[in-house]
Amino acid sequence: MTASLEVLSVEKKIEDFLLGPINLKLESGTVTALVGNNGAGKSTLLKTIMQLARQDMGEVIVFGSNTNQDDESWKKQIAYQPQTLMGCDSFTGNELKVLFSKWYPNWDDNWFGNMVDTFDIPMNKKYGKLSQGNQQKLLASLTLSKNAQLLILDEPTAHMDIVSKRKYTDFLTEWMEREDKTIFISTHQMEDIRKLADYLIFINRGQMAGKFEKDKLAQQYKRYWLAEDLPQVSIPGEIERKGLRTVTTHLPLEAEAYFLKAGMKWHAEEYIELEEAVTYLLK
């Protein structure tokens, strides 16, 4: 598989906040979620990739082109969706569509019409007068219709209602059916992660805190309901215990060997929910 995006030892200092060094590589045909608490540096990383903030160190490579150059044609291969669109408050949806469709050579008008109809966006209203939810739906429609190879989305569902979120997930899924598309999405919504992501990248206080294949992440943790009280000391890989007999570990094999050796039986075991695994990693 070929790389859509490579971030190599990128560092960016903003006042006393230091992002990086960040190293990551997204392969085409994959969806990667960027996960981190508020202020972890997710938006800064995405802006740096788009060169809206220039990195102090390191390189960003988009489809083989270094972004640190005067030629900005690499930008047409990316559809970036910021949290808010600056300087567009006085334009209507229809006017924005004309502007966007001119700039992007692969603009897909049918797709745009379909999203606008599905989301029922008032296209004659000025962007600044739309509700936050409708602004986000319009922005999402404009972004996907660029039909670029790489989508970079900064919390695209933060203001959407439940039904719209579901529809948006379906649109992104359909969009990924097209050949060799890649999505990099920063989000706080578990549903986005559960339904869309193949990989999760964690970022914590500006630092990379790990990259995981989604299904392997939840399977790293296992919970056991024991037949007798747990010992006072921690068991191997112990993360959390509830009551005297329920314990969660990130080293299931070692924990089971320990239980067997101690002659401890358990009634039930299960892999934990993805949401719990994500929470453990963000703590």
């Binding site: 045909g29 994959t30 969806v31 997930t169 379906d170 899924t173 990924m176 059916e177 559960r194 339904k195 869309l196 992501a197 193949d198 990989y199 294949e213 989604k214 299904d215 039930a268 075991e269 299960e270 892999y271 934990i272 929910e273 993805l274």
Partner: protein
């Protein structure tokens, strides 16, 4: 189309194996007929809330074993499966279900002899209910 696949968090069987096994059973029982379309990898991944990597692995196994075929640009379809393969899947799925029941009886501290008795009684009951069929 939606597939009634159910993933278990308790099971030690890997997720891709669970998916492949359940689709095999649907094909063997005729619930999925030859030529029937299967959901795309992305759609099934979304529905089951798993990564496309896992779903792809399940589809690859099913394709290797001859249960499904992928036609470039058209999608994935149920293949025409040989009768002998269907028979072995059926036997395997019945065996697995029974094994699971026996395991749960053993967990309740029943002996094998007691389990045999329960089993024989159940068979007698079912014979009466179903009017002595089979």
């Amino acid at each position: 189309m939606e597939l009634p696949v159910h993933l278990s968090k308790e099971s030690r069987v890997p997720i891709y194996h669970q998916i492949a096994g359940q689709i095999q059973a649907m094909i063997a029982s005729g619930q999925l007929a030859p030529g029937a379309p299967l959901p795309s990898i992305r759609t099934l991944s979304k529905d089951l809330e798993i990564s496309a990597i896992t779903t792809r692995r399940a589809y690859q196994d099913l394709e290797l074993e001859g249960f499904i075929t992928t036609i470039q640009g058209k999608g994935t379809f149920v293949a025409k499966v040989e009768e002998s393969l269907i028979r072995s899947v059926k036997i395997k799925s019945v065996q697995q279900a029974m094994e699971k029941s026996i395991e749960s009886a053993l967990q309740q501290n029943y002996t094998f002899e007691e389990i045999e008795t329960i089993f024989a009684e159940l068979i007698e009951e079912l014979k009466i209910k179903k009017g002595g069929k089979g």
